[in-house]
Amino acid sequence: MLKIEGLSIAFRTAEGLRPAVTDMSFEIAPGEILGLVGESGSGKTLMSLAVMGLLPPNAVVTAGRVLDQGTDLLGLPPEALRRRRGAEISMIFQDPIASLDPLYRCGDQVIEAILLHEPIGRRAARARALELFERVRLPDPARAMRAYPHELSGGQCQRVMIAMAIVCRPRIIIADEPTTALDVTVQRQVLDLLRELNREVGAAILLITHDLGVIAQTADRVAVMYQGRMVEEARTADLFARPQQPYTRGLIGAMPQGRQAPGQGLTTVAAAAAGTTRAIALRTPPDPSAPPLLEIRDLDKSYRVPGGLVPGARTVRAVDGVSLSIWPRETLGLVGESGCGKTTLSRLIMRLSEPDSGQMLFAGRDITHLSPKAMVPLRREISMVFQNPYGSLNPRQTVEELVGAPLIIHGEGDAASRQARVARLVEHVGLPRAALSRYPHEFSGGQRQRIVIARALALNPRLVICDEAVSALDLSVQAQVLNLLADLQAEHDLAYLFISHDLSVVEHVSDRIAVMQKGRIVETGPAEAIFAAPRDPYTRALLSAVPRIPGQSARSEETAR
């Protein structure tokens, strides 16, 4: 059906052509879902755009063919290609809200897609759109027809996008990271929908993602891309059971699966290539009988949300009677979907915003109402690692200045001793000494997160809050950073508050887990207990939505070997 043959794409640059995709070949049959997996920059999106004939102006196809029922799409005149787009090949994008025109109602955008390709009346098109909205199971399809994109949630917008993609019964659907911007429960629904529709419509789906779990759950076959090349292609079950290439093995090994075994880290690509495993330092386990390091009692925080043009604002209880404790050397995982109040909670703990009521004790001392000045010495004890390694580093400062910042702020030592300490810290998190004089933009995401970690450790804190600390990283890098965090915890006796929406990661690193929903903690307990027997229905829903890869045991065998 769709057959890619030896496709190569390159960017035009001042220095000449820079190859981005090299010699890709695969094919998809009707009704089949082919998962194309690869980390950021591997060229997977570029490839999909080439199929659609939507390459950016500075990218060119240097070789190969894209055959749709024997016709080379690359050779079609623009008008013929345009007529195929939407009718025979359609596409679903990553950010559904941004991918819809904000100024048009969702229904009209779907109707527009119908009218572009089919000679039917507007009324008929409207009926068809409504029918489709029902079919993609949009709640209240009539309202969704009238709604503007910003009035719907991300998941609902993605359903609109899907409706738009299947409206003309295309033979090929390309879904480019269709669930990356969505919460895990929504992701589950969207993926199920895709599968289901695929069965009905019989289209060939190219599912592009970086998430192995999504692939495992949805795709029939998998193609793995690495640095613009295809490294491996296999049936999904086979791939996870018997990955052939070191890169694939590394990738699968890097996926957190279950609890972290003592002393055993996640496999990284490099380790897999070298055929070794990564060990991590053994730590002293936390002592539950000791007094807790941080104790939170009945913390409340609400804020007012402007209610649009309608007068009167809504009050949102972002943190609602939260009580938590963290013991020294312990990792507490805080898990919940976006908007559940996780970040507000971490800001409250850092005293970056003021709670409405409740109490926070750090090492037995009430810090709830300490003045900003009195809070300063305590900031040596608690530090933070942020979600976005691109945003949490001042782009105008060198690594030396960035990592040295806490030392300067707290007047630690003289210039020479500070310099020495910064150098040690940087080496400690595995960065070269030469990094000191460079700026953040010269580093990759994983390296940047190492800088952030070095900064967080500068003053020997006792508690580190990791707010979505690995969420923005590629799988293999995520594994490295998780390993590093584990090493550092053992070495410095750190306690972590590990906040994440990713259940697999939380499960992997945490001693205990707290599940948060709509500002409340719905369940707390030891990690094993929660994953084995969740008590709260929300926790259960959350857990069941997590994409699992088959043959989990295969990974353990692989690494144990």
């Binding site: 800001r347 850092m350 970056l352 809070m375 300063v376 900031r379 040596r380 608690i382 530090s383 933070m384 942020f386 979600q387 976005n388 945003g391 949490s392 580093l393 001042n394 782009p395 105008r396 400062q397 200045e401 910042a405 806490p406 702020i409 707290h410 952030v452 900064r455």
Partner: protein, 285 residues
């Protein structure tokens, strides 16, 4: 401040590398700055010497660009006339940048009530048409370079304040500011190392716009007779005067007009290029 300066120099160098055409305009601007610095030394004749017997002459060997209504050498006056124009533009931009940036940062980073007050004040100032405010202000001060600098500088404070406020709001939302706070950094440090260097690029672009606007405003005020005090020449004032002699010596109005337009053009083009260069979104497309 050395780092931001270095940053600007680096940016300009990058810019010159990435866009060869810009080099030409940078050259033009450099030439203009050179003339502003050394114009009086270059002037072939006394720019103030009146010669009643040679008024409003066309170009000649003695006066390469001709003479004005007092028989003064136009070339010399042109070379000297750039200095007050540039002084006013630079001085006013400096005042506007300093004042506006401070206000803008306070408005975005300070407490809410302060921000609201500042931005409302900015709105009030913006609702005055600049040239009319300048008219009033220059009226009750002695006209001249220093008062023009202050008046035009104050006039453009609101524009800078808006840019600085918007940019600061964006920066403050970023995690590294949060990171500074979580480390216990004092506000002073957050402003100096966190905010200021990161709002620099929109400010630099705004500065080029203000520079161009200040030149035009100075010339407009001089045109209305409210600018530089004669016999000291400035380009705007020369144009204003020369407009009356279009019939007698058409070239008289041409020289300062061309010079002024060229200067503003160079600044605008470099400003545009800077904006494109500094705005990553525009660079990608």
């Amino acid at each position: 401040m050395t780092r931001p300066m270095r940053g600007i120099v680096h940016t300009l160098r990058d810019l010159a590398r990435s866009r060869p055409a810009i080099r030409l305009w940078m050259g033009v601007l450099a030439l203009i700055v050179l003339v502003a610095l050394f114009g009086p030394l270059m002037a072939p004749q006394d720019a103030f010497a009146i010669n009643p017997l040679a008024v409003l002459q066309g170009p000649s060997a003695a006066h390469p660009l001709g003479t004005d209504e007092f028989g003064r050498d136009l070339l010399s006056r042109l070379l000297i006339g750039i200095r007050p124009t540039m002084l006013v533009a630079l001085g006013a931009t400096a005042i506007a940048a300093a004042g506006g940036t401070t206000l803008g940062i306070f408005a975005a980073y300070g407490p809410n009530w302060l921000g609201t007050t500042i931005m409302r004040g900015v709105d009030v100032m913006l609702s005055f048409p600049p040239i009319l405010l300048a008219l009033l202000a220059v009226g009750f001060w002695k006209s001249g370079v220093s008062s023009l600098i202050i008046v035009i500088g104050i006039l453009y404070i609101p524009h800078f304040a808006r840019v600085a406020q918007a940019a600061t709001l964006q920066v403050v939302r970023q995690e590294f500011i949060e990171a500074e706070h979580s480390m216990g950094a004092p506000y002073r440090r957050v402003v100096a190392t966190g905010i200021l260097p990161n709002i620099l690029s929109p400010l630099v672009v705004q500065a080029t716009l203000t520079l161009a606007a200040a030149i035009l405003l100075e010339s407009g005020l001089s045109f209305l007779g409210l600018g530089i005090v004669p016999p000291e020449p400035s380009w705007g004032q020369m144009i204003g005067t020369a407009r009356g002699y279009l019939g007698q010596n058409p070239l008289y109005v041409l020289w300062p007009s061309a010079c002024l337009a060229l200067t503003v053009l160079a600044i605008n083009i470099i400003g545009d290029a800077l904006r494109d260069h500094l705005d990553p979104r525009l660079r990608q497309v």
